[in-house]
Symmetry: C2
Subunit: 396 residues, 2 copies
């Protein structure tokens, strides 16, 4: 047994990858052992998943082998699923093993939040991983193939629950994809319906109202039917019950309505709100100065006392601060406060269309769509440099 401190990072999402990369840069030789645990041997670019989910882009643009992102001489990569965190014993139980740690970084990512809507968990698909995304794409295509054999109109109805950023971005891609599928399967596009159902009184809640209107106009022109201010009451195998009991028949229901923390966090005994832990200003779990929680699993409040929404942007920034604070802890120095710096928000609306707010400036249409690409490429650059941009970037 060595005396070298053991750092274990759970999850290679935005937060985990950034933490790992910064640790590998900042730690000196033999200063610590770092192990990164992830369910898959690839990192996926969650903000891009709406495209392969709709089938408008390949899976390969949405994921990167983790071995390309970290230096395996410096960081051990363990491909396994985390089953349990035993905070008293400082142990992580894996599907097929066990890890002990001195410092733990939890970036396991969130889970879909269905707000207790009956049947949602059972009958709706969610955009949360490469596997779930391939499933949505194949499910949608399969409905077209089945329709040509059984002529059930509900196969051509697609319900997307939630008109937040994920919902809107997916709906836009789906609207771009439908005409292609109609040609491929000889289906009249007029028979197809895309419903975007949102309980809140507006699409893209919290976003600039002028841009929300622009976004909805773009999507309506692409054939999307909005049901805003209309809650989904129940999800069935063949549709959803909305509002006052109206049924929308549909064989495809995709739920984008919410994200909560991870059940593993709850099971570990942390105090949680919707599965997320309110971390201190240094991103530490309350009561544990050697456990850091970042990304969708953490709850961090803005100066006005409201929690920041879980985004890739905040997860990445948390990863950077988290790595600094782990190093500080090892070196017995003062930790750094996490301060979120909002770089702006872009929502893609499908091919050639987007809305964005950057530095208080509103953008829409082609300009915003170019900005979206730049944001995507900037991320690829941050995690993998020029080679990754060239390999995974979408230039057109």
């Amino acid at each position: 047994m060595s005396n070298i401190p053991k750092i274990v990072i759970l999850g290679a999402g935005y937060g985990g990858i950034l933490t790992a990369q910064r640790l590998q840069k900042e730690l000196k030789y033999n200063e610590a052992d770092v192990t990164l645990v992830n369910r898959h041997d690839y990192h996926y670019i969650t903000t891009h998943l709406h495209m392969p989910a709709a089938g408008t882009d390949t899976i390969e643009h949405s994921r990167v082998p983790i071995s390309k992102l970290i230096d395996e001489f410096k960081i051990d990569l363990v491909k396994s699923t985390v089953k349990e965190i035993r905070v008293q014993e400082k142990k992580v139980i894996l599907e097929d093993g066990l890890l002990t740690y001195d410092y733990l970084v939890i970036g396991l990512g969130g889970e879909p939040e269905t707000f207790g809507i009956r049947g949602m968990k059972e009958h709706a698909m969610t955009i949360r991983s490469i596997n779930s995304v391939r499933m949505i794409r194949e499910h949608v295509e399969y409905q077209f193939a089945l329709y040509k054999n059984d002529r059930r109109e509900s196969r051509l109805n697609f319900v997307v629950g939630g008109a937040g950023f994920s919902g809107i971005e997916f709906v836009a891609e789906l609207a771009d994809r439908i005409p292609v599928l109609c040609r491929e399967f000889d289906v009249d596009p007029n028979r197809v319906n895309i419903y975007n159902v949102e309980a809140a009184p507006t699409a893209l809640p919290g976003f600039d109202p002028e841009l929300v209107e622009y976004a909805m106009d773009v999507l309506k022109r692409k054939g999307v039917t909005f049901r805003i201010g209309v809650p989904i009451k129940e999800c069935l195998p063949d549709g959803v019950i909305v509002g006052e009991g109206e049924k929308i028949q549909a064989q495809t229901i995709v739920w984008t309505g919410g994200i909560r923390g991870n059940h593993i966090i709850e099971d570990a005994g942390f105090e949680v709100m919707r599965g997320r832990v309110k971390v201190d200003e240094f991103l530490r779990a309350p009561g544990y100065d050697h456990i850091f929680i970042i990304g969708d699993n953490s709850l961090f409040f803005n100066p006005e006392g409201r929690p920041y929404p879980p985004t890739a942007q905040i997860a990445m920034q948390q990863g950077v601060t988290c790595a600094r604070n782990v190093v500080a802890a090892i070196r017995r120095r003062q930790p750094h406060k996490f301060v979120f710096s909002n770089k702006g928000t872009v929502a893609s609306l499908g091919k050639g269309e987007a809305v964005a707010v950057v530095g208080g400036r509103k953008m829409k249409g082609w300009t915003a769509a170019q900005l979206k690409k730049i944001v995507d490429m900037r991320y690829l650059f941050i995690i993998g440099g020029i080679p990754l941009v060239l390999k995974k970037g979408r230039f057109f």
Copy 2:
């Protein structure tokens, strides 16, 4: 009402298309009205359907708009489904209309023959149309997507019932396709099983035994598991019961085991054997010298007194003779006897492999695969000339 005789052709398959093309060539101006009825506005190349069914080629290489094959100034094209033939009234009832005729050519194509195997009709897919083929392709892909989410091993088992020409050709394409799907969905190819189950004591019954052995060796190397001399007793939603009660678990079952005639022929009151009518030497239905039956709906005996198997080759040759005999009847001349001229047989075994017997000569491997392409192109040339060969031909 004109006195011009009315010719109605039912079905634009191999037989119907050839009949229509020859009639349009041989008939003089105003000598007859010709109407071609088909369910779709395209002709499909049935012998090619095993490829898009497996997903190794696009649908578009397997079909041609009928308007490209016939001269619409000379032949009326009616896109409709035939519901009933009233031979006493000389009428054809369509889904959405009615046609009267003086001469009728029936080339409606066959239907899958399940030999009364329980559950086969309900749970197995068949390779019989563009729609059924898209369904098989999507169903197979969907199993991979579902497997990645529920890990049911039976999703990776594929059962093909029948090891005749259709079965072998489809199995070969599927074996070529599986490695591609495994890469796309991150599935270990060793987990996938393709079972080809045949009740007869050999694969490719009636074919040269040496070539049968070669074909099976090629396919075994591609990962196909043969169960020859093993009947399917029952087809279930999640597998098949074979032999003495053994169950093969599989979410995908494709039945290629047989073809019978069309129920519309039976309903019309003709005497049938497995839905097919034993026509006279001029291809006429017994008792009706103005009704011709060709292709999978007809039963024609070779000089040794055994029926020819239903193939594209015989259907095409029948189409040519049928057209001549319709013209002869109109001109009150002697009809011509149908004589089948066997041009040989080729079975594709996937990329770069095939077996063939042509003029008594056996061929296998690359040479036979090239021959297969030449046969395909020859057909495109016959029905559509050089432009169609260039558009639909597979040159590589």
